[in-house]
Point group: C2
Chain length 587, copies 2
């Protein structure tokens, strides 16, 4: 071992001991007669002292050490003259007697400090140096803790960690698979799992009763901000359970994680809301309920006054931004520009200032008088000093846009405190959603989700009205996880595939193994999967998952550090019986 | 919840309670007035009692239940008339009051019993039913325990679990990669990792100090028996360590696993042996030292007596099978046939019976007299009653063949008790091995392994003599894991790639990121990886890993249950800009 202690270990009680440390030069201060060096490792920082009078040669040597050099030193733990109460080792320093340079370092392309001067691309390229920075290390340490405590909790609840295969079969249904050509089975391909869904269900059929896995999943999607082609799930499944059992179990997990890792306690049960209510009140199936600003529907009070935009709209939705009536022209213009950006796509934004004096000022004063506007304010529960923001159009789009605007206002007004955590179970999702493009029903969660027994009778007549035994856990506007009670009956599963447009043959070819398994004593079962990246980022108070992943990919799905993906050589392609045919553009 | 208790939970102290259980029908016995059913789940078996006199209808219903039906029952815990001391629930039974069939079952294609009548292929196809059998469940439960205890130990030692990427870059060096075409980066491919080697080294450069991960790895090799295209490693790396630190740390892990899971304690340090000695004494770098039968070199005593086979051989090796002098002609012929099989490839086998009366009988009596044979027996330490088995030829081949024969004899003679565990560190591996086919040096472990400092001076003159800071942990003839102290110096790493036949450009293109990282303060580091599949199988006393994997692939790399790999449809191929060109044979 190159050290007797880590750089975070020594305290006043070690004074007088001869010790050896190894670590990185964080910084050095040359005070003429004395040189002080901060030596850093994962565990902390220890001050090294070199004295010209005691050992001039050693002191000279120390002065030549550059930042990020790796050194090993031996010396005596002594009391520090000016103590540093900000760090645990601040009472001592090391009077160095021996210094060995283990490795030198070029000047890093950006500073290895909490606040660095490196841009995003540069840090991605030198990810191994960015990972040396304390805030980034802390994020990965948090991830490690979440993973440990997750296992501890689930293990205590009799869940078994079972590894499912990564080389499976492609299913054209749903998102795109990453595929893997098989050399030994010419012309055939494996697929990387988008989730271990069917395997965990088979484990329930096998009687494993409670399964979990912290597992990489893969999805070949056009990457939006903050999506990764490979991501990690806490994947769980239970047999002999109903929805309530699953909710209780995983609410327990989330409480355990927050309690043990953040010291955050949640009182009582997590609140619950139906999907229909969430969409109505927040225009989102993962509402951020850290703040109010619920949707107010103005259809009754705002239609029929000759304002064509409203009269022709399917719906008119307002939110009330409290204490914002003093917003300037410039602020309101900025908001209008914001909702008109292509990502949001609203045609415009209407506002009503509820002036402190009780009067109203709106952008549609031409069409609505003070009484009209008072009716809006009353409907929205707005008080003098508040600001109403109004969008209109078709129901689905307007809800979506207003959801974005609401979250934006939440950010603007500081209502989304990253240290406040508001979980919410969203329940009663629709089983199916109609896809205009393909002209058929799609499974809202996946084809294995069971319908609510009381809605099964609607499956032939009004499939769109069938609710699923499905649930999501939202927190702070983020979907942490979701799941469902599954179908465990072959006939019902076959009917589901039928509804989703599978021919009998397609269903059998792709999922025959699962439907067959249902014929040999499949127990009722259900489960849930958390997105670990997102869970950890949320716990860390961050909206971006990228820093919570050791080696993330960029928006083009590239690892710029190792420069992957990359072309293969011809021998490799030949062995796989593959030919690349560039079609999109010549390179 | 469908139950108040599991089928393994109820005891005498529960008598009088009304409970609900759910599980599978293991078997039923109809005794006329009474019907008894064994209800099974993962936790155990509970006896259900149905009484014609108490409830004839219910009893009739129970009689119709087939094996593997899934039922839920409610009833009273009562004392059992004839107690079964073999199971923990044997003191009670359930007087059933209510019975609900949760799912029926077709007759399984093989019996769900500890000893099943199902053949290997059938069980693979219905893996979800094979997984229902208790011995198979126990193997996966053992795996779960090993994984939990591994994490516990490493976590306590400050190791951090960091997830490394699965979509990385292909490197033509070494075994074949599985590759993944990138749709977003046309004509380019990711590779699945054969191990997280370079990433864990980068984590050391980043200062993570101690890393571990239980991680899937992938290798596209022609599958030998008991190799899987995807396998799991316990992958570890440490900074600021020397070989001794790594050995101590992971010896500690193995001791912890055996102690907590099997109750097996190892006394003192694990024995150690150099690679050279292991090859000399056992012809294997992973010798099974549960039994002796060490190689004896007869060159001095057996050459020059006119027996052409020996005289022309590079070496003559014997092993002494104690108490086997009474082997019959038939047994000796069988052994000869065994070593002549193509898998072993020996030309013949020579034996010497050391008869109980002190005389010798050999298959080469024509060339060697009693005195000659006595000299052999003395060299081998053989006593009257023993049997010498002798092979000759070139050194490498003969050692290999004799290793196989030794293990075979160990099996024959019952010397390889699966409940005895003999670990052995094998040290001082050569850094390089000469590959005749490609006419160049190959890295014996991998290109990142450091040479022993005292051998570095040989690197230009006699590269084959350079020993590596590499180590393997063998147990019972199985390689459980291996690792090395790595190179952390850019120049030395570049020299290594040079030796291995990389051009400067190739080395930079493939591993430039790692060599660059070494220039920014890379600490000395080293690590080790265990093969989890093999470790668990060894702990389970089995030589085959397949049953310790929930969903294994067969020898063609196929998952016969889900029928993967499979052809892709044209749209998927087009999106990936790929064309399949069948070359090997038309399908």
């Amino acid at each position: 071992m190159y050290r007797t202690h880590t750089c975070g270990a020594l305290r006043a009680e070690n004074i007088g001991e001869k010790i050896t440390l190894a670590g990185w030069i964080q910084r050095s201060r040359d005070l003429g007669g004395m040189t002080f060096i901060d030596l850093r490792d994962r565990y902390g920082v220890t001050q090294l002292a070199f004295n010209m009078e005691v050992n001039a040669a050693l002191c000279e040597q120390a002065r030549k050490l550059g930042r990020e050099f790796v050194v090993q030193i031996t010396g005596l733990v002594i009391e520090r003259a000016s103590k540093n109460k900000n760090i645990p080792t601040g009472e001592i320093e090391i009077q160095v007697e021996e210094l060995i340079v283990l490795n030198s370092s070029k000047t890093p392309p950006f500073t290895i400090e909490d606040e660095t001067d490196g841009g995003e691309e540069l840090r991605a390229q030198f990810r191994y140096l960015d990972l040396r920075r304390n805030p980034v290390q802390q994020k990965l340490l948090l991830r490690n803790k979440v993973s440990i405590e997750t296992r501890k909790y689930l293990d205590a609840q009799n869940f078994i960690d079972v590894e499912t295969p990564y080389l499976i079969k492609s299913t054209p249904e749903g998102a795109r698979d990453f595929v893997v050509p098989s050399r030994m089975n010419e012309g055939e391909f494996y697929a990387l799992p988008q989730s271990p869904q069917t395997f965990k269900q088979l484990l329930m059929v096998s009687g494993f009763d409670r399964y979990y896995q912290i597992v990489k999943c893969f999805r070949d999607e056009d990457l939006r901000a903050d999506r990764q082609p490979e991501f990690t799930q806490i994947d769980c499944e239970m047999a002999f359970v109903e929805q309530e059992d699953v909710l209780q179990t995983f609410e327990g997990l989330v409480k355990h994680l927050f309690s043990t890792i953040r010291g955050t306690e949640f009182e009582g049960n997590f609140p619950r809301m139906s999907y229909a209510d969430a969409m109505k009140k927040y225009g989102s199936d993962k509402p951020d309920i850290r703040f109010g600003m619920e949707f107010v529907y103005l259809d009754e009070v705002a239609k029929g006054k000759g304002f064509q935009v409203f009269d022709s709209a399917e719906t008119i939705i307002a939110i009330n931004a409290e204490d914002c009536s003093e917003y300037t022209r410039k602020q309101l213009d900025a908001l209008t520009d914001w909702v008109k950006r292509p990502q949001i796509g609203a045609k415009g934004l209407i506002y009503v200032k509820c002036n402190p004096d009780g009067s109203y000022k709106s952008s549609v004063d031409k069409f609505f008088n003070q009484e009209d506007l008072k009716a809006w304010a009353d409907a929205a529960g707005a008080n003098p000093g508040d600001l109403l923001l109004v969008l209109s159009g078709d129901l689905e789009t307007t809800r979506k846009q207003m959801n974005e605007l609401r979250l934006h206002m939440g950010n603007e007004l500081g209502l989304r405190n990253p240290n406040v955590f508001k979980p919410l179970w969203v329940l009663d999702f629709p089983l199916l959603e109609w896809d205009e493009e393909s002209g058929r029903w799609h499974a809202m969660h996946h084809p294995f989700t069971s319908p609510k027994p009381e809605d099964v009778h609607l499956i032939d007549s009004e499939p769109g009205k069938v609710r699923a035994n499905a649930y999501d856990l939202a927190m702070n506007g983020v979907e942490l996880g979701g799941g469902s009670i599954r179908i465990h009956d072959r006939q019902l599963q076959a009917r589901m595939f039928d509804l989703l447009g599978f021919t009998k043959e397609e269903a059998q070819a792709q999922f025959g193994f699962l439907m067959n398994a249902f014929e040999y004593g499949a127990p009722p079962h259900g489960g849930l999967a958390f997105g670990l990246d997102r869970l950890v980022a949320t716990m860390g108070g961050s909206e971006s998952i990228r820093d919570y992943i050791a080696f993330p990919k960029n928006n083009r799905g590239r690892d710029v550090m190792i420069d992957a993906p990359a072309p293969l050589n011809k021998e490799q392609l030949d062995e796989l019986s593959l030919k690349v045919e560039l079609t999109k553009e010549e390179k």
